[in-house]
């Protein structure tokens, strides 16, 4: 059923009894052309593009819990394409362009809200690094502006300009950046993929791979039985190493917990996304009114989906350092997501050494903003067996070759990316 | 030819204002004191030389170096555990070059580093000392967990600090000694002072003896 104000009004007359499932709930078939492991944003977007862009409709998405139960529903909903290195720049801009047409593509309001992101800088060195990045963006046709302290004061008058430990000197602004409603992205892709013929199978955990004599993957063992597959794509950020291990692979990835926080709902206070350059704090405000904020990783390997106090304190200290008027606003909820931290802070979208098995992993904190592009390029790889140009550098062997894409320059130390 | 005077300066030269701070009135819940003119020598045992180091320490200080986190008072010096097989020899600064003297005594068996200017010694005491400390020190400083003579290497404002419990003051109050990095001292003094203001603070200066 098409969603619109008219269908809503019509449904209202019948007390909304007419609405049907947003996505079908089929029993798994014995075989699919493509099986996607992972019913998060990336897996569902991949299935959506396979069906609608590449005409491959005999597709299943297997989710061990409920769709969107992983990082898709645990992030701070920021979308942006303000990256500085070849490989990232083009890819994230492709994603931004897909965000900009998502509601119309999916006939689902994912609340893509381009209210802008400002990365504050507090030193000349930081300004220069932002200038380099901003110029890279402009050279790649992406919007970017370098603001000085006065311009920042105009945009964000409520920040701390009086007694800050690290005074605000300016910021890098991308106006087209913003936020989107994370759960809606999952549901929107699920609904559109389902309408395109994709089977979305929840509560179906993959427990192993089926391999033929040549070692090629020909299916998966699941908690709901064996499912045959022409090709299998992994989109299980947070659990990549665990699933890869079932195929005997070791990845350049560590799982780390990243905490996020939301405050009680308050009337509009913050226009867009703000990141603090001298501490670990970034914040935006949801349409419901909650301040959604976060900071750095806890720093240790974890699969626990919860963090500890030092980071909570560190994040709030950062918040109070730049916006001390939120002192009396209360933190409502705290949660943790498991980041697929790659060794250079950049994702991996590639074939694997195992025939028939394809990898989409290593998203670090970039996962949510990448959702549409990740789906498109992974679908392309699965359909064509060759990378789309935008993802050509996200290769698995880049570490062996020394072709890392290291935005932060931290090297093989995942918890520093 | 110009004359040069080499006045020494304390890192708390600005921050420390002797007298009463905090709650109005004369109430003193916490005493804060910078101890100046100190000599600190970091002694780190060389590989496999624990026995010789202990022997040398016995010879110089008349006591074994602490094997566990504690501070022991020896001849002319207090030996403060500062990590596995290492300690800080703390004494009052004197005319003779303590560092040279100790370097000789430990030659070949331990590596020494003069830290007399690398750290600043702050002594904190008073009836409310533990409440104040609880705000910037994560250790359990209860009598049972941290008796007189106990020592620890820990953090304050995310920077390292050596803390050890001294003898109780004449008026029966607990005292703790804190060694903090010189460059941080000014900043940390304010952190410590702020945490004690609600109890009333008496700040003063002392010289190591």
């Amino acid at each position: 059923m098409k969603y619109s104000i008219f269908s809503l009004a019509k449904a209202a007359l019948s007390g909304h009894k007419g609405w049907t499932r947003a996505w079908r709930d089929p029993a798994p078939k014995s075989r699919y052309d493509v099986v996607i492991i992972g019913g998060g944003g990336h897996g569902l977007a991949t299935a959506y593009f396979l069906a609608h862009e590449y005409g491959i409709r005999n597709v299943a998405v297997l989710e061990k819990g409920w769709i969107g139960s992983g990082n898709a529903g645990r992030n701070t909903t920021i979308i942006r394409s303000n990256y500085g290195l070849p490989g990232n720049t083009g890819f994230y801009e492709l994603s931004m362009k897909l965000w900009e047409r998502m509601e119309q593509d999916l006939n689902y309001n994912t609340m893509v809200s381009q209210r802008g992101i400002i990365n504050l800088y507090h030193s000349d060195a930081q300004r220069d690094a932002f200038a380099r990045r901003g110029n890279t963006m402009r050279i790649n046709g992406i919007d970017a502006e370098l603001l000085d302290a006065e311009q920042i004061r105009k945009e964000l008058p409520f920040l701390n300009y009086n007694n800050a430990r690290f005074p605000i000197m300016g910021g890098l602004l991308q106006r087209r950046a913003g936020t989107a409603r994370h759960d809606a992205v999952v549901w929107g892709y699920a609904r559109a993929a389902s309408e395109g013929g994709v089977d979305i199978i929840q509560n179906c955990e993959v427990t192993g791979f089926v391999r033929d004599a040549n070692g090629r993957v020909t299916g998966v063992e699941t908690s709901r039985g064996r499912i045959g597959a022409g090709k299998v794509g992994m989109a299980v950020a947070g659990s990549s190493s665990r699933v890869a291990a079932m195929a005997g692979m070791k990845l350049p990835i560590e799982s780390h917990v990243l905490q996020a926080f939301v405050s009680e709902a308050i009337k509009p206070l913050i226009p867009g996304v703000i990141t603090f350059g001298a501490g670990h704090f970034y914040v935006s405000q949801s349409d419901k009114g909650g301040l959604v904020f976060g900071g750095d990783l806890d720093g240790y390997n974890s699969y626990a989906q919860r963090g500890n106090m030092p980071v909570m304190e560190d994040v709030c200290e950062g918040g109070m350092a730049i916006m001390p008027m939120i002192g009396r606003v209360r933190m409502l909820r705290q949660w943790g997501g498991i980041m697929d931290m790659s060794m250079d802070g950049t994702p991996i979208i590639d074939k694997t050494p195992v025939d028939g098995l394809y990898l989409n992993a290593g998203w670090c904190y970039g996962g949510f903003k990448a959702t549409p592009a990740s789906g498109l390029v992974f679908a392309h790889l699965l359909a064509r067996d060759e990378p789309r140009p935008e993802a050509a550098l996200f290769r698995l062997d880049r570490f062996r070759r020394g072709a890392m894409i290291d935005e932060k320059g931290q090297g093989a130390q995942p918890n520093l990316h | 030819m110009a004359e040069f005077s080499w006045n020494t300066q304390s890192p708390l030269g600005r921050a420390l204002v002797p007298g009463h701070h905090g709650v109005t009135g004369t109430q003193v819940g916490v005493t804060l004191e910078e101890v100046r003119d100190i000599s600190l020598v970091q002694v780190m045992t060389r590989r496999g030389r624990a026995a010789e180091t202990a022997k040398a320490a016995k010879k110089v200080f008349g006591i074994q170096p602490p094997a566990s986190p504690s501070a022991a008072v020896g001849r002319h010096a207090t030996l403060i555990w500062s990590g596995p097989d290492q300690f800080i020899a703390f004494s009052a600064r004197s005319a003779e070059d303590q560092f040279a003297k100790l370097s000789e005594a430990f030659a070949g068996v331990a590596s020494l580093s003069d830290q007399s200017d690398g750290r600043c010694l702050i002594r904190i005491g008073g009836p409310r000392v533990r409440q104040a400390l609880a705000k910037f020190c994560s250790l359990d400083l209860d009598d049972r967990a941290f008796p007189p003579g106990a020592a620890a290497t820990t953090s304050i404002d995310h920077t390292a600090m050596n803390i050890w419990r001294g003898a109780d003051s004449p008026d029966g109050h607990t005292t703790f000694n804190m060694l903090v990095f010189t460059s941080f001292a000014d900043s940390l003094w304010h952190t410590i002072l702020d945490s004690a203001l609600e109890y009333g603070v008496q700040a003063s200066l002392a010289h190591a003896a």
Binding site: P252, Y300, S302, A304, Q413 | P69, T153, A160
Partner: protein, 102 residues
């Protein structure tokens, strides 16, 4: 989170820095007597980049930088965050130690 430093006792995790998996061992730069750089690169690639990334008990390096400055090897469950054991790195203190892992 609380970490029991074998030298200092139990401390809050703010005093520690995490490095990562303690299982990979640094190869010799001349694994093959320097014959083929390829093989040395393979060995180091494995050491520097590839991780088991266990969901469960793993051995890992922690640095007690906010305390006694010792490097520690902990066994910790990455699912429950529970520490099973914490021991000192071979070269902590003045102990005469063989090369790590040997």
């Amino acid at each position: 989170m609380r970490i029991a430093c074998p030298f200092c006792g139990e401390r809050e995790n703010g005093e520690f820095t995490y490095l990562g998996d303690a299982s990979p061992k640094r190869p010799n730069f001349a694994v093959d007597g320097g014959e083929s750089p390829e093989r040395a690169e393979d060995a180091f690639y494995d050491y520097v980049y590839l991780r088991d990334n266990l969901a469960g008990v793993m051995r890992e390096y922690w640095y007690h930088g906010g305390g006694c400055r010792s490097w520690l090897v902990a066994e910790r469950n990455t699912v429950t965050h529970e520490f099973i054991s914490v021991t000192a790195a071979p070269g902590a203190g003045a102990a005469l130690a063989a090369r790590a892992g040997e």
